[in-house]
Symmetry: C2
Subunit: 318 residues, 2 copies
Amino acid sequence: MHTDLVAALDIGGTKIAGALVDGHGAILVRAQRPTPSQEDGDTVMRAVEEVLGELRAAPLWERAHAIGIGSAGPVDASTGTVSPVNVPGWRDFPLVERVRAKAGDHLPVELIGDGVAITAAEHWQGAARGHANALCMVVSTGVGGGLVLNGQLHSGPTGNAGHIGHISVDLDGDACPCGARGCVERIASGPNIARRALENGWCPGPDGDTSAAAVAAAARAGDPVAIASFARAAQALAAGIAATATLVEIDIAVVGGGVGKAGDVLFAPLRKALGDYATLSFVQRLTVAPAQMGTDAGLVGAAAAALAGMAGTAAAGV
Amino acid sequence: MHTDLVAALDIGGTKIAGALVDGHGAILVRAQRPTPSQEDGDTVMRAVEEVLGELRAAPLWERAHAIGIGSAGPVDASTGTVSPVNVPGWRDFPLVERVRAKAGDHLPVELIGDGVAITAAEHWQGAARGHANALCMVVSTGVGGGLVLNGQLHSGPTGNAGHIGHISVDLDGDACPCGARGCVERIASGPNIARRALENGWCPGPDGDTSAAAVAAAARAGDPVAIASFARAAQALAAGIAATATLVEIDIAVVGGGVGKAGDVLFAPLRKALGDYATLSFVQRLTVAPAQMGTDAGLVGAAAAALAGMAGTAAAGV
């Protein structure tokens, strides 16, 4: 039997990437455009259409059996619309319908959030492979995530499940831009790690770099304020991961993104804090691991969702 | 086709109930013993065996095709063992094996935690009926719960999923007996509602009743300290419910148990606080409803799990 191909789109605030991906996750054809994120909705869509046009021009396109889309959120898989925070021209934008119009009505389209897409990639090819129950997170400018439950991607009815960045772990805490208080993202994202370090007296080096990566470097060099800011982020992540494990039973939490790359500066206090919050017997075996997928995670995950959707449709006899 | 029966066991710290239940959830035969909760493990098991013995003596027993057990937790469905907090004689007690020995090796046995059992009952017959994604909670001496995801009970590999009482919503908060801090149960359980009211100057009536029900009565009569204690419990419950919705996408949260019976004293501030914490677009449609099942919820839910297990086995072609 020949290997089916799927088309994958990874739509973010910076770039729109597309690919044709085979059943082993290999990327055979690529296309990419910058996201004209501050333009009107049709202009943004034209960039998507250009990416799709390049893919359709490839001879392999005729072997594509489905399209998977991972998009910056929020998304609504139930209506096929997206409203990415960083793309103001798209509010309840009918992305699935517009992609179908360009790519052909015969192709099934799966829409998921970008955190769910990353999770699909880590489960298929990365650090969550072989785990039937997993949380995968991206800790960077924001904090996103996704869940694998019972061996399947759990995207939820609207494709947004796993939004660990916006669960409150500090119900009286600082106001979060989402409207709640004390969200994991409000404490653990890169900008919040940097802000807290600066507020507590951390002085950046001569290059003036005030990024979380610079705080991580300072922490590695022993700066106590930088270490404390990462420890606080780790505590919030641990409370969120423990909450997830206590609610749905996961056996691994995979942490990626720019902050995830900080290494032991993050993972050492994270593992310690997990011991403080993951206390019930059935969550004590939980492990934490760094993400393994690189910049193609969004594309590979969107492809995984498209393949899983095809398999589900086949299983349902449709 | 005749309706299959299942046997159900509901094992708590106070009583051990058993029943034969039909495919519509009707209880046809009952048996019950008090739980000798402070005795040794074999003595507790003898009470279970007496309940099973009564069920086996019923002519309908020969139509029972499976056994469902809902037990006070923690349970471990992967090993068939239970370690109920309030039954110290049972630690990693091989309940499934012992039930099989008494009931017959040919019957499949499904073991789930009591919060999961209540959830199965509310989904089958109660307030969560017709909802594909639901959280059901028991707010009483403790705070327990369970999840329905994609139309199926999500019990998790060990049968403990949905333990919302022990997720932290206040990462720097008061120490919880579980070892963590700021758990939902530490803020919202009946004893904690009463404790907080007393600490803040609430005076019980002439009958000296310091239960959460008495605090609820005082709140209904306008006592501001009693109202504030329920509002704080509602805030913690809202943060936990919102976290659950944000993580797995649920469209209803069902609240039962003694505290759940407080009515508007709880539900009015709970619905208000949910607006503060359930902020993302995909969780804003979430509703909250009181539980509908009565004292048989544990039995009906254990029966539902047994029936679902039989259906799953049949579907798998085993």
